[in-house]
């Protein structure tokens, strides 16, 4: 070890750099090899894309300009300002960079092989996955919740806000869940509705012994939890919020060996059904014993299998042999022999996330009609209403309630169960959402779906008073977009995005107003689709359906930064960029 006391100077640096000992041949070889490597990658990638008949992704940088050239030919098409504004807007360049990286053929091929090698050889996970024992995988965000700072620690909440702002991920951060919970309790209480919070424990809490040997002492109802959880729930109870902590209830079987899927973020069907029964029991305690002619529900056992969302997030090669599919038995809930459907007129509303959807939304990989709401309904023996959005337990479901087409949802309700993943307490934004009043009284579906226009009532918008019906074809211009999550950034491989469209021409169908909220597919199988890249000023020809008529995408994760609670959303079934 040398001990140099003389400080380094700029002059000495220059002298050292000027006296490099390298033969001319080595210098030339090293220089050219490096240049060839860094030039070869983009050339090969561009060449491969051209061979497939695609335009090289890297040229996407100029899209706003080329679109503008196209639209300048049309009357009112806009000039150069708009595309330049797009390019210079915060986030556009990052989005473009992400798009180039995601489309990199070399990266797509090499990354899984390297990840698999690291995983097999060194037990490495990645920034989303923590590798447990005996083939168990855990979602990093859940482990962070468990071991991280108290979720109600003031300085931690301040740090989260600051980081959101500095990284520009959210300029209006709301990391503290308490105001949102209290506000929603008040919204419910104003309507005479009881609110029941249902935090779903994280896999790392319930399967601790599979995560770390140091958690082997925990079992049964002795469940490790975030340092601040108890304080949060005490405060919430003190302010009148009721909470169901399923791991503390009497029905919770001590020392049960497995409650979660080995390689998925979510619960096993058996545990979900156990929680559904406990929830139904709590609902019964709070619900007046109203008689009803409820349909008979039956269960049909089915075997379902999948690799699990965590294997997908680990991003191994498609032909990987490290993990096999995991098979589970689920009970599909049938009503008169048909798949169970939510009932908007029910007195019970379940707000949920992917824990509610895992066995009811096929895109999550575990089939349909056997989800959490279905089993609550079965355990109650009566229909329930449900709004469940993947990854949106903290704020998204309440935002849905605030939308015009859902303003009747709270009318007939006596109890709302707000299910969310407990890890959201330390990771999500808990926005305050004020829910406007809907129609005056609980109405029958026929009245809501009347095809005749009716006058706007107090508390309604034009859109909510006259809900859209049937398909619509139009040309419109993108006004505002939402920030679509990066592929593989969440356990959900699909995502919709909300876009505000200014209508230019209606080609067919009926439309009230000039602006439209349109939901596009933004990501499927962790690949961005055109919807993810639309920018203000883009002109689109769209074929739309009212979103409420598109049932199979309703629970899909949604990127929505628009805070638009005026327009009823449509869903784009066909979209074409108009140049």
């Amino acid at each position: 070890m040398s001990h140099r006391i003389k400080s380094h100077t700029e002059e000495r640096s220059r002298e050292e750099l000027a006296s490099t000992q390298i033969s001319p041949r080595t210098a030339r070889t090293l220089s050219w090899c490096f240049v060839i490597i860094i030039f070869a990658v983009p050339l090969i990638e561009g060449g491969l894309e051209l061979r497939k008949g695609m335009r090289p992704t890297v040229l996407g940088f100029f899209d706003p300009l080329t679109k503008s050239v196209g639209s300048m030919a049309t009357p009112g098409g806009g000039g150069w300002k708009s595309p330049l504004k797009t390019i210079l807007s915060s986030g556009y360049l990052r989005k473009y960079e992400s798009s180039v990286e995601d489309h990199s053929v070399l990266r797509t091929r090499v990354q899984p092989a390297v990840q698999e090698w690291l995983h097999k050889r060194f037990g490495a996970g990645n920034n989303k996955i923590v590798v447990g024992k005996d083939g168990w995988l855990f979602y990093r965000s859940g482990v962070d919740y468990l071991v991280g700072p108290s979720v109600v620690d003031a300085s931690y909440l301040w740090v989260r806000s600051k980081q959101s702002i500095d990284k520009q991920t959210n300029l209006d951060p709301a990391p503290d869940p308490r105001p949102a919970m209290d506000e929603f309790r008040q919204e419910c209480a104003r309507r005479g509705i009881k609110l029941l919070l249902l935090p779903i424990p994280d896999k790392s809490m319930m399967q601790g012994r599979e995560l770390s040997p140091r958690l082997e002492g925990f079992s049964g109802r002795n469940v490790p939890n975030n340092r601040g959880y108890e304080r949060l729930m005490t405060e919430m109870r003190d302010s009148g919020v009721e909470v169901l902590e399923v791991w503390k209830t009497g029905s919770h079987q001590p020392n049960s060996s497995q409650r979660y899927l080995r390689r998925d973020t979510h619960w096993l069907p058996s545990y979900m059904e156990e929680v559904a029964r406990a929830t139904a029991q709590e609902i019964r305690k709070r619900l007046p014993d109203t008689a009803g002619d409820w349909p008979v529900m039956t269960l049909r056992r089915e075997r379902r299998s999948s690799f699990g969302d965590l294997v997908q997030l680990l991003r191994l090669t498609p032909e990987q042999q490290v993990y096999q599919e995991e098979a589970v038995d689920v009970d599909r809930v049938l009503v008169d022999g048909q798949d169970w459907q939510p009932d908007r007129q029910s007195e019970v509303l379940i707000l949920g996330d992917s824990f509610t959807n895992i066995y009811s939304q096929p895109s999550l990989g575990w089939g349909a009609s056997a989800g959490f709401a279905e089993h609550i309904s079965h355990a109650l023996g009566r229909p329930v209403d449900v709004i469940a959005l993947n990854g949106a337990g903290a704020s998204g479901t309440r935002r849905e309630l605030a939308r015009p087409e859902n303003r009747d949802r709270l009318l007939c309700k006596k109890i709302v169960v707000w299910q969310f993943a407990i890890r959201d307490l330390s990771a999500e934004n808990w926005s305050l959402v004020s829910i406007p009043s809907g129609p005056a009284a609980c109405q029958k579906p026929a009245a809501l779906e009347s095809r005749n226009e009716r006058p706007v009532q107090p508390g309604e918008t034009q859109a909510s008073a006259n809900p859209p019906v049937g398909p619509l074809t139009l040309i419109g211009k993108v006004v505002k977009t939402s920030k679509v999550p990066e592929p593989y950034s969440a356990p959900y491989s699909d995502c919709l995005t909300s876009v505000l469209i200014s209508v230019e021409t209606v080609k067919s169908g009926r439309l009230a107003g000039k602006d439209l909220l349109v939901l596009f597919w933004a990501m499927k199988d962790n690949k961005w689709l055109p919807g993810a890249t639309y920018a203000p000023g883009d002109r689109l020809q769209l074929e739309l359906l009212p979103f409420k008529e598109v049932s199979d995408v309703r629970g899909v994760q949604r990127a929505d930064d628009l805070d638009d609670f005026e327009h009823i959303p449509y869903f784009a079934i066909k979209e074409t960029l108009v140049r």
Partner: protein, 485 residues
Amino acid sequence: MVFSSHFFIFYFLPVVLLLNYSLPFRLLSLTLTLLSYAFYGWLNPAWVLLMLLSSYIDYFCGIGLVKFGGLPLGGADLPLLPKDQPRNRWQKLTLAVSMVTNLSIIGFFKYYDFGATTINALARAFGWGSAEIGVLHIALPIGISFYTFQSMSYAIDVYRGEARAMKNPIDFQLFVALFPHQIAGPIIRYRTVAEQIRSRSFSYEKFARGVSFFCLGMAKKIILANPMGDITDAAFTASSLSWFDAWYGLFAYAFQIYFDFSAYSDMAVGLGLMLGFCFMKNFDDPYRAVNITDFWRRWHISLSTWLRDYLYIPLGGNQGSKGRTYANLMTVMLLGGLWHGASWNFVVWGGIHGLMLSLDRIRGRDGFYDRLPTPLRVLITFLVVNISWVFFRAETFGQTLEYLASLFSLSNVEKSTGAVSALLYTPYHVLMFVSCAVTVWFLPQVWDFTQRITPSKAAACLVLFMASVALLWTQSLNPFLYFQF
């Protein structure tokens, strides 16, 4: 944009090199300036305006210093201000404009919220009314501390007569914005690059050395620093830790910050060489230092020399009484700490180093400490530096105290946080931890390794580069730590 990103390496850098080696020299300043602005504005283009503002104020201050000195503005080069003549009132005012503007920019963006929060907290504590100063939640423009210091050094150098004012505004913008060092240094003094902006040489030797710096810097960042970042993040966000986990997490941070920051500097030096520039060495085996004075000769050298030349010496340096010297050291280190970020933690971090520097002076040479075996002194210095890193890394003062308590087994270890071991001790992370220790204490640093480049070393550089790129694709975006400063 980040050097260690797919887009930078395979798209931005090829374009830069292509233009740098195909355009005539007279167009290079403008081209590199525009490319540097694109690089800087990548995350938020609006921040370029701020950089332009800072640049143009200093540019005009430079011209003003010459003009108010009664010197001619004609000719290819502006004249040097005579060193031995006192400056007049207008020149002093011009320098003050530069200083005040730059310090205001950095003060507003970096310290406004911190100041407002502190004042509000004090007001609440002393019951001085309920009216609070509004906190603006301002996003911190990346690299602001680096480029404002660089820009300021220009006006000071011109004022002191140590450098000529620049006539061509594009050349001056290039000095401030030049992308290799723009966001996280090394902090370049105007007088050392002014000549290179006007004329510099290109050669295969220079380019090849630059390539080897870039490849090895990339390897340090991707292979060593990022896995250490995983350990650090887990340790520093855990609500409680055992003493062993805490020390392991802290050493991982020591490795992370060194490999991350020195990697950035190596890549910056490498990119500079590829473009014909020579930047200064920023790290010189800092964890082999035998005391804190030695550490500061090896750690972030461009900042420590900047603080020495533009703050410590103007304050009087060591020319006054002993007490005055200690006070100067303390002032410089406290401000140096605050330069890193708007938090009391950074102030305390600076204070610890100021105190240790003063103790080094009080102790003098040839005392008991200096007779200890070198490895023991290196270990003691490393431990002191590590304790100070707790203040540097922890997000809040409360977290700092908790972490320090964990280090010395003074905190209650909650059983639930045993789960943190799943994050800390994967075989991969343990292997990388050991590799970091070996690299720090037993392998040559990049500057020495690349002093003599043999074919096998050249091959090793390329292999490490390709391995780093392959690993990069498995990692999420990992900006350099010093971007936040």
